[in-house]
């Protein structure tokens, strides 16, 4: 154990304060009884009640969730396929160009992506709504998925696929029965990444959403421009809670997987000895 030092303690406190103080203040004020956001007037949960009676917020939340689920799922399928072809497809004409192009949307400013999608949707006469947001989110989050999955595929032992073929699998079966189960963790984290990217995207969604569908980030942003309301604080607190639960669950699950694997290995070593 390191010895406790004042310097370490101060650094730690300052660091965490910097990160979490704003959120803490937000959480505290979400339980404020008064209408004025900056004046404390007693504990109350009434803004949570108000929030759940606010149709507009609930609608936006529902739209956001739908968009995130659909776009991240489509992006995962497309991104995984793209990664597989780029890593496994051998050399084909324009492969280098393709693999470079898949990274381009990662570095493209969001404003440009959003604007160009908007122009495209107008050009083909697609009415802006849930569909256009899903398409837009799929477009940019697919690249993230393909980056995550291809970095896993690079280290994937090719001979496993060959063994599957050798034992009578069609190439598709080899992918379905051998490759996919083994790279599943990467695919799942790709999905999670796409899901969170879609959840908190403001810029692209505001280009591609229409009057019929608004996402939560847009709703919050426009509400705040009219002045911060305690309802927004309550909503944000709920979002923080959901994210915290998600992150903690994910880390617990992966930690348990590591522990179980280590225990299995220990057992195997004992059995051999």
């Amino acid at each position: 154990m390191r010895r406790f030092s004042w310097f370490n303690a101060t650094a730690l406190t300052l660091g965490f304060a910097f990160l979490y103080l704003p959120m803490l203040i937000l959480i505290i004020y979400s339980f404020n009884g008064g209408r004025l956001v900056t004046v404390w007037s007693g504990f109350s949960t009434k803004w949570y009640g108000e929030l759940f009676r606010n149709e507009a917020f609930l609608d936006a939340a529902w739209v956001t969730l739908k968009v995130a689920v659909f776009s991240s799922t489509i992006a995962t399928v497309l991104g995984t396929m793209a990664a597989y072809v780029l890593i496994r497809g051998g050399r084909f004409l324009g492969r280098t160009l393709f693999s470079g192009m898949i990274y381009a949307p990662l570095v493209m400013p969001e404003v440009i992506t959003g604007l160009s999608l908007l122009l495209l949707f107008i050009g083909i006469g697609l009415d802006r709504g849930i569909l256009t947001i899903v398409l837009a989110h799929t477009t940019f989050s697919m690249c993230y998925v393909s980056v995550v999955v291809s970095s896993r595929l690079v280290t994937f032992d090719r001979s496993l696929e060959e063994a599957a073929l050798d034992l009578g699998c069609t190439p598709f079966d080899a992918f379905r029965l051998v490759t996919l189960p083994i790279i599943a963790p990467a695919v799942i984290s790709g999905w999670l990444l796409a899901f969170t990217l879609s959840l908190d995207d403001l810029v692209i969604a505001s280009f591609t959403s229409g009057p019929s569908a608004t996402t939560l980030p847009i709703k919050i942003f426009s509400a705040v421009r009219l002045g911060v309301s305690p309802e927004i604080n309550a909503l944000s607190t709920l979002l923080i809670a959901i994210v915290a639960v998600g992150v903690i669950t994910a880390s617990l699950v992966s930690k348990r997987a590591i522990i179980r694997r280590q225990r299995d290995e220990q057992a195997a070593i004992k059995a051999v000895a």
Binding site: L167, A271, V272
Partner: protein, 375 residues
Amino acid sequence: MTAPAEFSPWTDPSAKPLIRFTGVTKRFGDFTAIDNVDLDIFEKEFFALLGPSGCGKTTLMRMLAGFEMPTEGLIELDGQDIAPVPPNKRATNMMFQSYALFPHLSLRDNIAFGLHREKMPKDRIAARVDEMLKLVQLEPFASRKPHQISGGQRQRVALARCLAKAPKLLLLDEPLGALDRKLREETQFELMDIQEKTGTTFVIVTHDQEEAMTVASRVAVMDHGRLVQVATPAAIYETPNSTYVADFIGDVNIIEGKAEPGDGIMGIAWAEGQPNLTGASDLTLASGATVFMAIRPEKVRISAEKPEGAANAVAGKVLDIAYLGNISTYHVELPGGQVIKAQTANTDRIARRDFTWEDAVWLSWSATAGVVLER
């Protein structure tokens, strides 16, 4: 020991090979991994590929399994060009040098994998898998995952997985390297047994020449993508066609000299002021050409006195003695500085060494004991 003596389809000109390589070359970029190979392998053979690391053994197998395409030449299976047949449609199974076990499946599911692809009924799959687990002595571990077993156990799973489908042609890339001696010998006999029962043709890569000698009907010695010699184990051992093969299989003494051809006899002038060595040979060489005599240590006799009537006799002194339990190897230095090994069997229980370090001794061998080689 090996297949019955009368099994020698390669001597029968009318026999149809199961596999035929015709002028097969494989290049990776401008590196030639397989260099113009012509080879016939017959049904029910146990064919061993032997050669130093990187000589192209795995590449040859991967072409048979369908993972590499020959750059030039033709590979036929049963008279059919196999180039257009994808790996999953070939009647071959390969055991990978890296085992390639599926990490997400239990040993049982690994072994059953190929059987499920054949749409075999469930109960027959279970029975077959049990049989395989028993064969490789892994029944207690059936529900483990590959990362939960030892290296040797993994090797046995890989073996069981490719044996399970009982294919027409089995390609085993160093199947027994990680096993201890006893288990290796047991498995060798199992393989030969399977081969006899099922009539499967085996092509096996090994680094262990003793293994090749034990199990193989024929051995191919490879070097830099070329086949140097393809023959029965006995022929490879007794009549190697080059010093490379002689040196690769077993222990050998090689003495270089100048040819002095006679009638069916080759004289070899090997050192100033020493009588020529003689060996039986029908090589036709110009007088003075460089030749080599290859002689196995166990064919060299060691004695204190000059032996009478020996075709070859040289004097030297004992440099070193290696006692190996059942045999002793004497390293004898000849006047020119060359060291010759001579082996004697230790038949007495208490090792009685006739000779000790620095003793002056005579080495002798008959005219037919060694082989005379051009290169």
